[in-house]
């Protein structure tokens, strides 16, 4: 009991020192939260996720009441504005190519007759796949409008949408950037803080002074990891709040589960950061390693391209990437309202990465190679 109290008191002294060191330096203090704030806003606007203005064109070959009704409903949202009314299919390419229209809605000639005959009646939405984020959102909205229309028809065979994305045949409709940033943006900072923490001490010679104290490697590990984890979660919170209240993306799932996922993810990221830090002799070296690692982590995370489209070998590699599972947990909990059972498999690789990197870092503190 006495020993445990001493253990906690010693570790707490280190945590307190780490927090003081982080907060006392004006330059590092500004770095703690300003980048997260700025990047979130930048991404939020710059990534044109917001569907505020979607130009579209209509090719109505059925010229029926149903097609007019759906077109009117689309226009009625205030988001979509009709830029052209086309006469034949050959004009579609020109509209999409030139970027005048983000999407073209096509009603075939037999659109209403099929509805009247009680069979499924397909309409086509052609999307500009180059601008995948926005057109994905636009397609989603069109789908919602059509669903609402179907509902208004009551029972009976519905209108179906055939969706074609041009220039990007693998267009992923569930692709969603903003919630993924809760994990990815904060990881950048967490990784950096963790990577610099031991490297800074080695460079300035203070690490030897720390190693000759009775602090055990596990205490040093906890003392170094907790402040970084804390900062990481604080950053995630900032991004989360901006997305929720500023960009007004509705949160579907449980906040507890979201934070459970974020905590596990951040611990894994800190483990990687501290391992980098423990092998680095200088801050420069630690920073270089971090940058070298961040790019592949981002690319192989499913943030920009879906993992299942990667070559098989790379797909296997992504199991080592905590960001892949962090993003997946956040996206699914945030957008789908997934429960713990749905995202549980994501926790395993995260726990595995943390279980390897954290003890590795603790061991490296004293046994740096070379």
């Amino acid at each position: 009991m006495q020993a445990l109290l001493l253990y906690i008191a010693q570790t707490f002294a280190l945590i307190r020192k780490e927090m003081l060191a982080l907060l006392k330096d004006p330059s590092s203090r500004a770095l703690l939260f300003a980048p997260a704030l700025m990047q979130t806003l930048l991404f939020g606007y710059g990534a044109t996720y917001d569907l505020t203005h979607a130009p579209f064109a209509v090719l109505d070959q059925s010229r029926s009441a149903a097609s007019v009704e759906i077109t009117a409903r689309i226009e009625g949202t205030g988001v979509f504005s009709r830029v052209a009314t086309l006469d034949n299919a050959s004009q579609i390419a020109q509209q999409i190519d030139s970027g005048k229209a983000l999407l073209v809605v096509v009603f075939p000639a037999d659109f209403e007759s099929r509805l009247a005959a009680g069979t499924e009646s397909p309409m086509q939405v052609i999307l500009d796949g180059r601008n995948s984020a926005t057109s994905g959102a636009a397609a989603g909205q069109v789908a919602a409008i059509v669903a609402a229309y179907n509902q208004s028809l009551g029972a009976g065979p519905p209108v179906t949408i055939t969706r074609r994305a041009w220039f990007n045949p693998n267009f992923e409709s569930r692709w969603n950037l903003m919630p993924a940033m809760i994990a990815s943006l904060s990881m950048l900072q967490t990784l950096m803080i963790a990577a610099l923490s031991v490297a800074r001490e080695r460079e300035q010679g203070t690490f030897d002074q720390l190693l000759v104290t009775p602090l055990t490697p596990s205490q040093i590990l906890i003392g170094k990891a907790l402040p970084a984890i804390f900062v990481g979660l604080a950053q995630s919170t900032i991004i989360f709040l901006i997305i929720l209240f500023w960009f007004r993306i509705p949160m579907a799932g449980s906040v507890w589960l979201l934070y459970g996922g974020l905590l596990t993810f951040t611990v894994a990221a800190v483990g990687i950061g501290l391992s980098i830090s423990a092998v680095s002799l200088s801050m420069q070296q630690a920073m270089l390693y971090t940058f070298m690692l961040v790019m592949p982590l981002m690319l192989l995370s499913g943030l920009l391209t879906p993992v299942r489209n990667m070559p098989h070998v790379l797909q296997v590699v992504t199991y080592l990437n905590p960001l892949r599972f962090g993003i997946d947990i956040v996206r699914r909990v945030y957008l789908e309202g997934a429960g713990f059972a749905d995202v549980a498999p994501n926790f395993l690789p995260l726990v595995a990465v943390a279980a390897v990197t954290l003890p590795l870092a603790a061991w490296l503190f004293r046994n740096r190679l070379g």
Binding site: L6, A9, Q10, F12, A13, L14, R16, K17, L20, A21, K24, D25, Q204, G205, T206, D208, Q209, L210, L211, V212, T213, P214, L215, T216, N367
Partner: protein, 579 residues
Amino acid sequence: MTAAPVEATALRKSFRDKDLGEITAIDGLSLSVRQGELTALVGPDGAGKTTLMRMFAGLLKPDQGSLHVLGIDVARDPQQVQDRISYMPQRFGLYEDLSVQENLDLYADLHGVPQDQRRDRFARMLEMTDMARFTARPAGKLSGGMKQKLGLACTLVRSPDLLLLDEPSVGVDPLSRRDLWKIVLQLVDDEGLSVIVSTSYMDEAERCAQVHVMHRGRLLATGTPAELREKARGLTFVATPIAGMPARDLQARLIDVPDLVIDAVPQGGNVRFIRRPEADAARLAGLLDGASSASRPEELEDSFMILLREQDQGASPVATDMPPSGAADNGQPVIVVRDLVRKFGDFTAVASTSFQVGRGEIFGLLGPNGAGKTTTFRMLCGLLPATSGQLEVAGRNLRVARAQARARIGYVAQKFALYGNLSVRQNLEFFGGAYGLGGRLLRDRIAQTVRQFDLDPAAQSGLLPAGYKQRLAMATGLLHRPEILFLDEPTSGIDPLARRAFWRRITSLAKGGVTIIVTTHFMEEAEYCDRIAIQDAGEMLAIGTPQQVRELAGDAGARDMNSAFIAIVETARARREAA
């Protein structure tokens, strides 16, 4: 009649520091340097020597005053001055991946030395520096002393009208230091070159024709070494302690009474001291308490110490109520090292080393840079694993012992190794906490420590002057009352007065039963130690009391530790080469 190499009048230069505000580096300084002579600028760290040198070289503009170098107004035409001088900064810019020859070629190219002159010049430089054998070796693989010699050779690829050397012997072992000075003296004698050298070593200043003593940006004194020595005439003595009394105990007695004694240092089993001119003879005799004293010839160092003390009148005496060690003396050695070996790849940094250290001993590890003393030291502290051999500190090998065993040692690193952006108090609180101190006990210890070491708890640690940083580092190392205190090069970069105060604290700690392991490259500091070990190229060359080590060196060692060191290392190197 050519113009004087340097003519400076009422120079002033200050810097703006964002934390410390305005710092006056040079404060109304006037001096002139004569043609064809070796001139020394001496002074403690922070005296303004480097700033002055950089102004001579046209790298800094004076704020006020006039400065002519070789008759040229430097502020107006720095390039014209730079074309005619050679300047070797404290850390010379050698390209570590280039070979010795490539470095020479590069600097010759940079200075536009014509091809036909190069061959003779290079040959002469390589011969003087004794580096002809190493022309193909990358500069990064040279020892500290050799790097410095190569730096000098690169500086001298052309024949300058004036040579500026900024602390050329800092961090250089005594042997290389001697070689370096041989080269400089040869240049002055053979070529009639004017040389200005800045140094903190008085024995180096003694060899110069003219000496300028600087302190806090001002000139304290100017003259030939003989003229300067006059100041100490009749005040210098050497005291021999009564049988059985360590010299450092007598030294401590003397230096503790500043109104009678200006300075005291142990040397060769005796104590050299300077009495105050107005000191009362009867009180002085009482202080010596039976120790016999005789007058000795005055040296430049004595005058220098007198000048410094005059400037530092108000300094508070050192608190000597150092905390005692908690451990009881059981007669067992505190440190046992047997056949210790450390290899890095195929390079042997420490070769089969054995020694023991008893409780309350001050044990000094001496050696040139790269001799293996820091490696030995780091293995003792458990920071580095040994390749083979046995190692016990307080009965344990710290590398594999449980963490609590480390609570028995204190450690003061070579470089300031505390958290610079934390305050003094925050540093003490953190390390106290790390050693498991807390609550009232920690508060009391900190209050006591701050008083003993005369520290300001609210000050930001990183902004303290060098001497205070060193005090804080020591205060931190002692906060948990360790049995053994490890100090790595504790006195490098601090001025002579601060060094005296440091050793006064160390000797009083040892009296309280704390065992002290200290590395140093100041040979004269070995005299404070009970026993010393001299290492070179990883090998233990000599071990014993300072007296024994001096005797081992024969006649050469009789004079001082520096000569003894040179003799021992040279003999060993000659033996190695013969084998």
